[in-house]
Structures are given as structure tokens and as C-alpha cells.
């Protein structure tokens, strides 16, 4: 399972990196989204991979070593919210830039080549 997750994160991050280096804003924002998925998964698995174990329980006498680490789950939740908000902000910028410059190139003008 670890290997699959690791490969998935690698693929997401790799494609994201390639995409944010592309010249069109749409490609850049897609790249940012893919990278943020990769990062969120990465934070999540940093608390180790657990199966069938609750992060929080009310059951008395539950062995704490059998519980999943709740902190990365809390962290990833915050990271998702913040990432989502900033990506939405970038989307607004993208539309603004398209309207003002008339092109979707990241430099705001077409390159000569």
C-alpha cells in the first residue's frame, strides 16, 4: 500500500511541476491543483497509513497505540481549506488578466517564438 501511495504522490507532484512550468495560465492552475493534491496526500500519510483505526474515540480503555494519529488529519484539513481559497483567488486573477491583457499567457503577452 505504501508503494502505491508513494507512486501516486510522485505522479501528482511530477505532473504538477511540469504543468506549472507551462506558459498558459490554465495549465498553471491545473498544475497547482495537482501539486496541492500531492502535498495533501503527503501530509496525510506522514501520520503513517492505518486501517480500521479511529483517530478519536469515546470508548473508555481504548488502547491509544491502536488509534490513528489525528494530528496530520487536522493539518491536512487546514491545508486543504487554505489551498482551496488561494487557488480560487488565483482563478479570479486569471480571469482578470485575460480580460485586461487579452491573452492567457502567464507573462501577459505572447512570446515572439
Amino acid at each position: 500500500m505504501e508503494a502505491i501511495i508513494a507512486i501516486a504522490i510522485g505522479v501528482l507532484f511530477g505532473s504538477g511541476t511540469w504543468l506549472i512550468l507551462r506558459p498558459r495560465t490554465f495549465q498553471v492552475i491545473t498544475g497547482l491543483l495537482l501539486m496541492s493534491y500531492g502535498v495533501n496526500l503527503f501530509i496525510f500519510v506522514m501520520g503513517r497509513l492505518w486501517l480500521d483505526s479511529p483517530p478519536v474515540t469515546l470508548e473508555p480503555g481504548f488502547d491509544p497505540t491502536q488509534m490513528a494519529d489525528p494530528l496530520p488529519q487536522a493539518l491536512v484539513l487546514t491545508a486543504i481549506v487554505i489551498g482551496f481559497a488561494t487557488t480560487a483567488l488565483y482563478l479570479v486573477m486569471m480571469i482578470g488578466a485575460r480580460g485586461l491583457t487579452g491573452t492567457d499567457h502567464v507573462d501577459g503577452e505572447e512570446s515572439d517564438s
Partner: protein
């Protein structure tokens, strides 16, 4: 339940006050400009007063060891989020409040009116900056960084034109990617040590298994990359000149402060995680900072020589200043670091002031600029040219000239201003350094 000393609550107020003020400003109509400005000014003055109070309290050792700790919701230290104020943090708070006050007054007549919600964004930027200086938890630091950055995105775009959009798009992408690096770094640090509290991290490093120490080092390296992007170390700082020169001057003055947040975070991380007590990793990465800092100084200096436009020159000035600070941290010598912090104060104030002065100078230089002005009455120059003072130099020009010269003297480190003292102190500390100088001790 023990009662908490009321002074304890002062620590969280520099974060809460601008947050509340910023939120209050949102529903107010944009036409009620003086009211909005008044609230903003009152809140900024309040933050300044709080910062000075904290500095005095910390300096008089009101709290044990001069370190004030605020436990959010009174959770015990490694579990809850702790805020911490020491001399360095309090000093940075005062610096932030001073620059914010100057930038705010500068923007009263003109710059705050060219778009909406300037005042709210300004207060949120203060919230983020103060939070980043005060927090003692890495993930909380990330949250405050994002608050600061989100506000700065809005402020950079304030007064929406093609230049700002173009620069802003790159600025946002760079910072989003830096935030991803930040998160990866934080996740790796958590995975290797099981804590995100900076003070706790420092005590745990010594007992780490070598494999985990390797993980921790990877995490810290990636995290530091995010900070170095903010503080514009070469080759991570190419984004800076474009965005600083296209933002409105009052905002650019605040942005200068934001590079210092990056430097501050690097310093905190170096001193608390790889302190001399943590023998396993003491002094890790300092060499990279030293070389990177020197390259940054060179890059900034070349850029400064090559730039024609004043704001761009000031932006390269900010790069030189961060480069110098990173080099100073990289030496890892306590005496040198003390002088470096003195330099930080002077150079940040001077570079911010430079941003503001340059814009006034440009107003005189090119009359064509006036066409872009939204409010013509903002031009203080226009109603004063017939008042010659002394040998026929108008008072405004003389004042601007002196201010410009003052900033330039501080930035270049010439006597009689503070830049020279800092430069002399640095040279003195460097010459007196033994080759195997002790690594940096943690701050008190």
C-alpha cells in the same frame, strides 16, 4: 484552575486587534473614507502601543527569562498552540507597527482610495505579520504566513492595472508553490519528531535516531527553501523586483517587511532546532546560507546598478538587505548576529522609507505621471512650488532631497547614520572571529 496574570493576554492582542479592526472595516461603505482611515489608524496605533509595551515587559524580565508564553485555550505546551514573545519577537513587532503606521499615513490621501477594501486588507496583513512573529508552532506559522500572503495578494493588486495583474500572477504562483514546500517540510518534521512546537523540537532533536535525524534534516531543508523564497535568496528571488516595483508604494513598503519575515523564520528555525545543545545537528545548513547570502548580495548589487527606475532600485536594495542578513546568520556567530539584528532594523526602515520617498520624487520628475493620478489634489507638490526657501530650493524638494540622501546613506552604510554603525560592527565582529567559532546559541 489557576488565574492567569492579565499581562499574559497582551501577547495575543497584537494578533486579535488588527483582526477585529479589519473585520469591522469590511461592512463600512467605501465612501466613508475618513472613518475607515480613522479606524485603521487607531488600530495600527494600538498595535504599536501593544508592541512597545511587550518590548518593555520582555526587556524588564517581567516573565521568567524574558520569554512570555501564551498557551491558547490553556492547553499544556506541546499539545496546544503556544505563542511566545521574546526580545527579538517584540522588536520585530515594534518594527512592523512603525512601518505600518508610516505606510498607512502615506496612503491616506491617494493610494488607499484607488480601490476597495484597502484598509481591511492592511489590517489583515498586520494580523498575519504579527502572528508570524509571535507563534511558536510550525503549523500555526504556516497559517499566519497564509493570512499574510492572502492579504498581500489583495494589496499588491490594489488599484488593478495591467502591470500589477501581470506581476501579481507570478507572485501568487511563486508563493503558492513555496507554501506547498512549506507544508511538505512541516509534514516531514512532524513525521520524524512527532512535534511541531519549536521549543519542543529543539529538545527532541538530541534524542533522535540517526535515520529520523536524516528525515528531520530533509524536512528542515525543504521548509527553509520556502522561507528563503520569501526572503528572496538567490536564485529564489527573481520574482521580487518585478512585484515590488509594480505595487503601489505604501504596499511596497509593507512588502519590504515581508522579506524580513522569511529571514526571521530562518533564524528561528536555525536557532531552535539546530542549537548547540542538539549536538547531532548543530550548525546544519549554515554554510548554504552563507554562500547563498553572499550570492544574493552580489545579485542585489548588480541589479541595483543596472536598474533605471527608482522603485526597482529600492527592490534590489531589499534583496541586498536580506542577503546580508542571511550571510550574517550563515556565519553562526553570536556577536555578529547581534550586529546583524541592529542592521535589520536600520536597513528595513531605510528600504521602506526609500520606497515611499522614491514615489514622491517620481511625481516631480515626470509630469506625465500626473495623468495616471486618480486624485489630483493628492499632489502636495502642486500647491507649493512658489514657496522658495533659502537659496531658492523649494521646501518640499529640500525635504525630499534630504530624506532621499538619508535613506541612501543608511542603505550604503556611510557615516553619520545608523548604517555605518551596523557596517562597522559587522566588520569588527567578523575580524574578531576565530575560525572555529561557537555556533549560535538560542535567543533569550
Amino acid at each position: 484552575m489557576s488565574t492567569i496574570d492579565w499581562t499574559q493576554h497582551l501577547i495575543i492582542l497584537p494578533i486579535l486587534l488588527p483582526l477585529v479592526a479589519g473585520a469591522l472595516l469590511i461592512p463600512l461603505n467605501e465612501t466613508r473614507h475618513s472613518l475607515k482611515f480613522g479606524i485603521n489608524l487607531a488600530s495600527t496605533l494600538g498595535v504599536l502601543a501593544l508592541a512597545v509595551t511587550l518590548l518593555v515587559l520582555v526587556d524588564r524580565e517581567h516573565w521568567p527569562d524574558g520569554i512570555g508564553v501564551y498557551l491558547a485555550a490553556n492547553w499544556a505546551a506541546p499539545f496546544g498552540i503556544a505563542l511566545m514573545v521574546d526580545r527579538l519577537a517584540a522588536l520585530m513587532l515594534v518594527l512592523t507597527a512603525l512601518i505600518a503606521l508610516a505606510a498607512l499615513i502615506f496612503s491616506m490621501q491617494r493610494w488607499s482610495r484607488i480601490g476597495v477594501h484597502y484598509h481591511s486588507l492592511f489590517q489583515f496583513l498586520l494580523t498575519g505579520l504579527n502572528g508570524a512573529f509571535l507563534t511558536n508552532d510550525l503549523f500555526n506559522l504556516f497559517v499566519f504566513f497564509e493570512v499574510m500572503l492572502a492579504a498581500s495578494y489583495g494589496l499588491v493588486l490594489h488599484g488593478y492595472n495591467v502591470h500589477r495583474i501581470r506581476a501579481g500572477m507570478q507572485y501568487i504562483v511563486i508563493n503558492l508553490v513555496a507554501s506547498f514546500l512549506f507544508l511538505i517540510g512541516v509534514a516531514l518534521i512532524y513525521a520524524s519528531t512527532g512535534t511541531l512546537n519549536l521549543a519542543d523540537l529543539g529538545t527532541r532533536v538530541g534524542e533522535l535516531h540517526p535515520d529520523k535525524l536524516l528525515f528531520l534534516k530533509m524536512g528542515v531543508t525543504i521548509l527553509t527553501l520556502a522561507f528563503l523564497t520569501k526572503s528572496a535568496m538567490w536564485p529564489l528571488g527573481f520574482w521580487l523586483p518585478g512585484i515590488y516595483s509594480s505595487a503601489s508604494p505604501a504596499v511596497a513598503a509593507m512588502l519590504v517587511l515581508m522579506t524580513k519575515v522569511g529571514v526571521y523564520a530562518v533564524l528561528r528555525l536555525c536557532t531552535s532546532v539546530f542549537s548547540p545543545e542538539a549536538a547531532a545537528g548543530a550548525g546544519f545548513g549554515l554554510e548554504a546560507l552563507l554562500i547563498g547570502g553572499l550570492l544574493t548580495i552580489a545579485f542585489g548589487a548588480i541589479g541595483m546598478l543596472a536598474s533605471e527606475d527608482g522603485a526597482r532600485m529600492a527592490a534590489y536594495g531589499a534583496i541586498v538587505s536580506s542577503g546580508t542578513l542571511l550571510t550574517v546568520i550563515g556565519f553562526g556567530n553570536p556577536a555578529l548576529l547581534t550586529v546583524g539584528l541592529y542592521y535589520l532594523l536600520g536597513s528595513t526602515l531605510a528600504t521602506s522609507a526609500f520606497m515611499l520617498v522614491i514615489e514622491l520624487v517620481e511625481r516631480i520628475r515626470s509630469p506625465g505621471f500626473a495623468l495616471l493620478a486618480v486624485t489630483m489634489e493628492a499632489f502636495a507638490i502642486e500647491d507649493k512650488p512658489e514657496e522658495p526657501v533659502g537659496v531658492g530650493i523649494p521646501g518640499t524638494l529640500a525635504f525630499l532631497g534630504l530624506a532621499f540622501a538619508g535613506c541612501a546613506l543608511i542603505i550604503s552604510g556611510m557615516p553619520p547614520l545608523s548604517g555605518f554603525v551596523a557596517k562597522y560592527g559587522k566588520s569588527h565582529a567578523m575580524l574578531g572571529m576565530t575560525p572555529d567559532a561557537a555556533p549560535v546559541p538560542p535567543f533569550a
